[in-house]
């Protein structure tokens, strides 16, 4: 055998494959121990040694029961001695041999045949030898043991049940792990006492440190979440003595101090400290213990940080320690700290945050790839947020000064010199380069949203300082911007030559304003998704506190005169600061608007334009027409300026509207800015109270007319923006108006759309001109507008919008024919249907739903006809080529969704009448959807399922169908039925867990359907039998996602009800394959208990619930037994 495997390095591929085959079969050979020992002792080829070690490991596990315990013991000793005697072995060979040792120890721990303690004894002897090589070896042994017992992916595949792996781990954790820990601490202790470490020593040291980190401590405890980098340490009580010892913590601080200049080692030691900082759980006997532990930790940390200048490589580690401390320890523990210690900690945190912030800014200037300070800064800001969000636990005002400092430093880093340090390198040189920014790059307000949220929160804490600061900085920048733009204009007027002035000054101002507005926006308001945003209590209190000193009239004057310099208004010091900050943004907005009127658009920054409308939108949602009922106390200035029925509110609505209109006409070429602008408009009209004021403005009507006539400049806007604009115009139409006005409004907004459309498609020569670009554009614009109208649907306007849209839908079907070879137009037509179904079906009564179903059915028929035999050219083509398919599936899913969400008023329907008049021609949702499925299923090839969006939509659709119309499934044509079943099986077995879950959910209704009809041997009946086996295997034999247990359990239960005999067979055959009597009994018992509560199984909810409960226990009990690793 040896000669066969000897020279693998100088052979052909064929020979190599042959040799490999030999190795593989060698590893499977029976009792290879003698041969292996021989190989190990004689061979010089590393690879062969490696294979021999592997063969031993596999054979030991395979033949464990047959082997004499003594021979195992001696094998282990042999391996260990072998390694000890050969210090020059290749690393991978040594590790493999040690792995074999670890596997033996682990397997032995099961039947207690091997005394684990002996190995620790041996290791501790090795450690105390003082010889670095030997110590390294000891470390390798410990590492091998650790990874073998961790029951993670690193664990070797030794063909034992997951349950075995789990129990090994638990035993190990309680006992041996602590021993390893103690050994490691000893080594570290010893090393930390030495004055000088030579290279070899320090590498040993490093390995132990890495070991300490690896073991320490987290990984073993939370095996499930291993992938997450930051594990929280939650040891059991039995660790109290080992871990709560202050010396352990001190040791790690000492160690870190010693090795902090070595960035790799420092990472390990800081990680250890971070883990200690996250300690929680039963290890603490009481809160006092927690307090003293934390106090000790903080003292260590403070003395560590204060004594040193932090290295780049330490930043993230240190911020992890702090963040862990703040998130892990309860507020009560923090407040119980000695107040001096607490305040030095907060001081230190403040300084650290400011310093990391500055370094992060520097990193940005240097454009470093590895942004360590940015990461550290983010972590610390996040910790601040955690701290101050619960600041009622802390002494009042204790965070104000720190907040001021952190806030100031943030502002300073983001402003240009001389006020700030933006773009300054460490030696004060400004760097300024213009990089290309593509559309995929996120805007700062999203990119830095976490930072900004923290800074905004700190700004609220220190509102007294921060709001006036932002105001004065912003006012100053705006004045300067105004002056700068004026100079440019004069220059332009004076010389006909193109403006050659450097944009640097302008760009610096824009960037300053950009950040000031972002911070102001985050400070003044939140952006809660879905909820009504409230004025932050800190801001409200701040405004109230000063309301007595405030002169309301001057405040309103400042607010109402954005064209004037704020400081030029007499008495400007006695104004409400919150309103003043808004006014500062309005002043920015006004400078921008005036510049556009003076044809200086080229000089303006679209980014600043975006910032302004973004701010105004955020502000308007929270402050405009402030609802006093939502607050326990309200500030007079705020309610006077922005409350309902105030002139201030009316004025500002008018101003915002004017801004929107101006932006839409001058910024049509800036898609993002136009989009932010139109979103501001939607915000203004989506709430009825605001809309009521909006529709009183003449400008609003002008906008509506202008848009309806599709005249410049609005028609230059890109289509998504036109769509949203339409939505806003429709929403506005439902504001409060007298009926004449309302009629007039719709006549202005919607009727022209209809008229133009009808005029166009009813032209005699439409068939000839329909492909002309101009005609197509008109059609596309109409379709976009229809989508916008559908998007504007709300519960109280659905009636009128539905009737309006229905008139169009039939014409749209005609367009499907005309434009059948213009995919993007076809897609847009389908999209109109998708939107209508999506937004409206849940509100529609029966008659109206029927109408919608009918028209959708016709659409599908036309689509199907046009698609018949159509070849899609390249299967490997891009996803968007299948947009139509995706949209059709979306449409079907939307139609089905009515079965789940239905807000319609059933009284509206005259059922009897409906049935008598139209029984013959009514169309049900089922008809439409099944017809659609007939189209979609044959098109959905396996290749298409590789596209995630198509795949998800497809499975969502078929699950819905099975759940809602199970009775229709058996009626499907044979081919369709087969492919549906195949899809379900495919989805269950080889797709993501999400899809697998969907498919499982589809099974129960199918099985119930079978049970209902009582027919055996139908294709569905046979298919469900097949699914029983699949689900059974999935639950019992495979490692499955625990989230799926419920879905799989429900499916299993109904399938079991349907196929009781087959289920018993499955159980029987599984049991009969068990050779181990103990396991057999356990399994048999488990299966009995599983079905005990539901014998005989019937489709009864109560029984099903009982079954699911037992299933949970079943999985916990024996789930690991059959799942082998």
């Amino acid at each position: 055998m040896e000669c066969l495997i000897a020279p693998p390095s100088m052979v052909s591929t064929e020979q190599r494959q042959h040799a490999e085959h030999i190795f593989l079969s060698f590893r499977k050979s029976k009792s290879p121990f003698g041969v292996c020992k021989h190989i190990l002792e004689t061979s010089k080829v590393d690879y062969v040694l490696f294979q021999a070690a592997t063969a031993i490991m596999e054979a030991v596990v395979r033949e464990w029961v047959l082997l004499e315990k003594n021979s195992i013991e001696s094998l282990r000793t042999f391996l260990l001695t072998y390694v000890l005697q050969r210090p020059n072995l290749q690393k991978y060979v040594r590790e493999q041999i040690l792995l074999a040792v670890a596997v033996i120890v682990k397997r032995g721990s099961l039947d207690k045949s091997i005394n684990c303690k002996s190995i620790f004894h041996e290791v501790s002897q090795l450690i105390s030898s003082g010889n670095p090589t030997v110590q390294t070896l000891a470390c390798s042994i410990l590492t091998a043991l650790l990874s073998e017992f961790s029951s993670s992916n690193k664990t070797s595949n030794i063909g034992l049940s997951m349950e075995f792996h789990g129990s090994c781990k638990r035993v190990f954790q309680e006992d041996d792990l602590r021993q390893i820990f103690v050994l490691t601490m000893e080594v570290l202790q010893e090393f930390s006492r030495r004055e000088n470490l030579n290279a070899q020593m320090s590498s040993v040291f490093q390995r132990y440190l890495a070991l300490a980190n690896q073991m320490s401590l987290g990984r073993h405890y939370i095996a499930v979440f291993e992938a997450t980098q930051n594990v929280m340490l939650k040891p059991t009580e039995s660790w109290r003595e080992a871990l709560l010892d202050n010396r352990v913590m001190d040791l790690f601080f000492t160690v870190h101090r010693k090795i902090r200049e070595d960035s790799d080692m420092a990472q390990d030691s800081l990680q250890c400290l971070a883990q200690l900082a996250s300690m929680h759980g039963p290890i603490f006997p009481d809160e006092t213990a927690q307090v003293s532990y934390l106090a000790h930790m903080l003292e260590g940390l403070l003395s560590m940080i204060n004594g040193i200048e932090i290295e780049d490589s330490e930043a993230v580690g240190i911020s992890n320690i702090i963040s862990n401390l703040i998130t892990t320890f309860p507020r009560s523990v923090l407040t119980a700290l000695p107040s001096e210690l607490f305040s030095s900690f907060i001081n230190c945190l403040t300084l650290l945050t400011c310093s990391f912030g500055r370094s992060a800014a520097l990193e940005e200037v240097l454009d470093k790839d590895d942004m360590v300070y940015m990461e550290a800064y983010d972590k610390l800001l996040e910790s601040w947020l955690t701290l101050v969000q619960e600041d009622e636990h802390f002494p009042r005002g204790c965070f104000v000064q720190p907040a001021v400092q952190v806030f100031n430093s943030y502002i300073q880093c983001h402003l240009a010199a001389p006020d700030g340090t933006r773009n300054l390198t460490a030696n004060g040189v400004a760097s300024h380069d213009e990089e290309e920014i593509n559309e995929l790059q996120e805007d700062d307000r999203e990119l830095f949203s976490d930072q900004l949220a923290s800074i905004g929160m700190l700004g609220r804490i220190a509102a007294e300082h921060c709001i006036p600061l932002l105001t004065s900085l912003l006012e100053d920048r705006v004045t300067r911007l105004h002056g700068q733009l004026q100079r440019h204009q004069q220059h332009l007027m004076a010389s006909s030559a193109p403006d050659s002035v450097d944009r640097k000054v302008l760009d610096d101002l824009y960037e300053d304003i950009h950040w000031l507005i972002l911070v102001s926006g985050y400070l003044l308001a939140d952006d809660p998704q879905g909820e009504t945003p409230l004025i932050p209590s800190e801001v409200m209190e701040y405004s109230i506190k000063h309301s007595t000193e405030v002169d309301i009239n001057t405040t309103l004057q400042i607010l109402g005169s954005p064209g004037e310099k704020a400081t030029s208004i007499p008495g400007c010091n006695r104004t409400d600061s919150v309103i003043r900050l808004l006014s500062a943004v309005l002043r920015t907005s006004e400078v921008e608007s005036r510049a556009t009127r003076a044809s200086l658009i080229e000089l303006l920054s679209p980014q600043m334009g975006k910032d302004i409308v973004w701010f105004l939108r955020r502000w308007a949602k929270t402050y405009l027409l402030v609802d006093e009922k939502l607050y326990s106390q309200i500030s007079m200035p705020l309610s006077t300026a922005f409350g309902a029925d105030t002139e201030g509110a009316q004025w500002i609505v008018g101003y915002l509207l004017e801004k929107v209109i101006n932006n839409l006409s001058v910024w049509s070429s800036e898609p993002e800015l136009a989009n932010d602008t139109v979103e501001l408009l939607v915000t203004l009209v989506e709430k009825r109270e605001r809309a009521n004021i909006v529709v009183q403005c003449e400008n609003w009507w002008n906008l509506a007319k202008q848009f309806a006539s599709r005249s410049p400049p609005l028609h230059l806007l890109s289509s998504p923006i036109q769509r949203t604009l339409m939505k806003a115009l429709v929403l506005g139409g439902f504001a409060h108006m007298d009926s004449d006005t309302k009629q007039q409004y719709w006549a202005e907004v919607l009727h022209p759309l209809q008229q133009r459309f009808l005029n166009l498609i009813n032209q005699e020569n439409f068939a000839q001109i329909c492909q002309e670009e101009a005609v197509k554009q008109e059609i596309v614009a109409t379709l976009e507008a229809l989508c916008g109208i559908a998007e504007a649907t709300q519960i109280d306007n659905v009636g009128s919008l539905f009737s309006f849209l229905m008139d169009f839908l039939s014409s749209c079907i005609g367009l499907m024919e005309v434009y059948q070879n213009s995919p993007e137009t076809v897609n847009l037509i389908i999209e109109v249907f998708v939107e209508v179904a999506h937004k409206q079906i849940c509100y529609l009564g029966e008659t109206k739903s029927m109408k919608l179903y009918e028209v959708c059915l016709t659409l599908l028929q036309v689509y199907s006809k046009n698609n018949l035999g159509r070849k899609r050219l390249d299967v490997a083509a891009e996803e968007d080529q299948y947009q139509d398919l995706l949209l059709i599936m979306e449409l079907l899913t939307n139609l089905l969704s009515k079965e789940f969400i239905d807000f319609s008023d059933t009284d509206e329907v005259f059922r009897g009448q409906e049935q008598s008049t139209g029984a013959g021609r009514t169309v049900s949702a089922a008809d439409v959807v099944l017809f659609g499925v007939n189209i979609v299923l044959p098109l959905m090839s396996q290749d298409l399922l590789k596209f995630p969006s198509l795949c998800n939509q497809y499975y969502k659709l078929i699950t819905f169908i099975c759940e809602i119309f199970p009775e229709k499934i058996p009626q499907l044509p044979e081919e369709l039925f087969k492919s549906l079943m195949f899809s379900l099986e495919l989805g269950m077995t080889s797709m993501s867990s999400e899809i697998s879950q969907l498919c499982l959910e589809a099974l129960s209704p199918l099985a119930e359907q079978c049970a209902k009809t009582q027919e055996k041997d139908t294709p569905l009946f046979i298919a469900t039998r097949h699914f029983l086996k699949l689900v059974f295997d999935m639950l019992v034999l495979q490692k499955h996602n625990t989230e799926m247990t419920v879905a799989a359990g429900e499916a299993l239960y109904t399938l079991v009800c349907l196929h009781q005999a087959e289920y018993s067979e499955l159980v029987e055959s599984l049991l009969s394959s068990q050779r181990d009597a103990v396991i057999y009994q356990r399994l048999a018992d488990a299966f009995n208990t599983l079905t005990a509560s539901s014998t005989p199984p019937t489709m009864d909810r109560k029984q099903k619930v009982a079954f699911l409960k037992s299933l949970e226990e079943f999985v916990a009990n024996v789930g690991g037994l059959l799942c082998v690793k």
């Binding site: 920014i437 760009d507 960037e511 800036e670 230059l716 492909q771 002309e772 101009a774 083509a877």
Partner: protein, 197 residues
């Protein structure tokens, strides 16, 4: 001449060869003139120089006649030329010496379009011989090159068989030369149009 309608030198019914459109209002799958060639836009993205710069539009287009790729980048406020694309419908009434005889609505017949070569040609022939009714839509765009009086007429054609098989065929007919557009994707069906009666 049978096809008086195809007198491109003067333009058809007053329509010009191109018309201007603001760059930002162009859309993917639409048409635009890039580097002097009428193109279908297959990719569109925006970018800016510096955070406070103005948007620029980056376009990738496929020449609708040659299938060649062209790119351009321009400020989004600029106007671009959009080519006018027209369509003519014919009924296939005969095949002679490798040329198609196409009947216009007006009753006139044009016979200057060559039968596609290869399998496609054979299939058209056999379908036609089998008596299937075939409607041919010819799409063309007028484009004046920089050289004066050099008139380029390109005609794109798709044939859709309405009886029996219903496959699409994409064929490109520049004057006197036939190319089968195997490389073109399905969406080119805008430029290449089929119509069944």
């Amino acid at each position: 001449m049978a096809d008086a309608d195809l007198d491109f030198t003067t333009g058809d019914a007053g329509a010009s060869a191109t018309y201007p459109m603001q760059c930002s209002a162009l859309r993917k799958n639409g048409f635009v003139v890039l580097k002097g060639r009428p193109c279908k836009i297959v990719e569109m993205s925006t970018s800016k120089t510096g955070k406070h710069g103005h948007a620029k539009v980056h376009m990738v287009g496929i020449d609708i006649f040659t299938g060649k790729k062209y790119e351009d980048i321009c400020p989004s406020t600029h106007n671009m030329d959009v080519p006018n694309i027209k369509r003519m419908d014919y009924q296939l009434i005969g095949i002679q010496d490798g040329y198609l005889s196409l009947l216009q609505d007006s009753g006139e017949v044009r016979e200057d379009l060559k039968m596609p070569e290869g399998d496609l040609g054979k299939e058209i022939e056999s379908k036609f011989d089998a008596g299937e009714e075939i409607l041919v839509s010819v799409f063309y765009s007028v484009y004046l090159k920089l050289e004066p009086l050099t008139l380029q007429i390109a005609i794109l054609l798709i044939v859709l068989f309405i009886l029996g098989s219903t496959n699409f065929y994409f064929v490109l007919f520049p004057p006197l030369q036939i190319t089968v557009l195997s490389a073109m994707n399905e969406e080119s069906a805008v430029a290449i149009k089929a119509m069944a009666k």
